[in-house]
């Protein structure tokens, strides 16, 4: 089952995708989000990498984000970020 992942910046909806897993740089440490993760909210570290695993075992895509906030709910993972750099 894929995880629905959205990355939103103030300028636009940066990414809306179904992926396998996303590793999120939380304020209290990194955490991986897979499909069916329990609901949570966390602020994110500045200038840390968000790792997106398209499929299981794939090479992760890394996006540097700043001013971020992550929300996991039944609908998937939403990351709000002020800045995103590929």
């Amino acid at each position: 089952m894929p995880l629905h992942f959205e990355l939103v910046t103030p300028e636009k909806l940066y990414r809306s995708d179904d992926v396998y897993m996303v590793v999120v740089p939380g304020m209290d440490g990194d955490f991986g989000v897979l499909e069916g993760h329990s609901p949570m909210m966390s602020t994110l570290r500045n200038d840390a990498a968000l790792e997106i695993y398209k499929t299981q075992g794939a090479t992760p895509e890394r996006l540097m984000i700043a001013g971020g906030f992550a929300e996991v709910n039944a609908g998937g993972l939403t990351v709000l970020a002020e800045r995103v750099e590929a």
């Binding site: 939103v8 103030p10 300028e11 609901p39 949570m40 909210m41 966390s42 602020t43 002020e82």
Partner: protein, 293 residues
Amino acid sequence: MASLKALKMRINSVKSTQKITKAMKMVAAAKLRRATEAAEASRPYAERLEAVVSSIASKVSVGPQSPKLLAGSGKNDVHLFVVATSDKGLAGAFNTNIVRLARRQAEALKAEGKTVKFYTIGKKGRDQLSRTFRSDIIHSIEPGDLGKLSFADVQNWGEDLTARFEAGEFDVAHLFFSKFENVLTQTPTQIQLMPVAVAADAGDMVGLSASVEYEPDEEEILAELLPRNVTIQLLRANRENAASEQGSKMTAMDNATRNAGDMINKLTIQYNRTRQAAITTELIEIIAGAEAL
């Protein structure tokens, strides 16, 4: 009666004015499309952030330790009006409508004995407000082209405002801008910027259950998100303004083009009449001369 030559010159000058207003209308139409796209693109972020902030805020009990942006300063004496307008005119009543709303609210608050300060964004707003409230304007910003405004620009203003709020320069901040409904309708709007207004039923609205985990915890997340919410509100207001400005400009220029057209018709009729009168006079002269022989 004006001479034929003077009339011809008038017609030509009105014609070139019409060309300019027509071009401006088309430019505004193109910019309007881009501005509405930008306004729509920034909507998902603003909506999510607002939902999250309200849902957390409704769970946290307001106490002396809670962030000032949520709890407020406990007073209601000094109001700050953040009036967002544009730098350029020629957009109908766009700027005037925003300023008029702000002025009316300011006068109502002053009548209650409160202090009102102004923080203006846009040259036009500053110029119009300084006629009556010159000494109350504490800061003004010239944003340049509203359509090209980036998040980083607005972020600085947001941080400045938050710092002023923390320093106790004012108790309540209101934001004035023009909401873009459609090309014909733009409504001047007032929202409360600081402290954050929390909708009472926000928690149920987003459907967040009580089992949500918070990292680090609610308070800290809130402290982080509230200043960001201020910035986002500012950005949204300016995006709405950008679209409203272009919409208003388009309507104004369309009217101007039509007026110029009417004017050209009127002048052309006058020109033709004058020309005919001149010919008639000449004919009468010739006939009178022939009869006299």
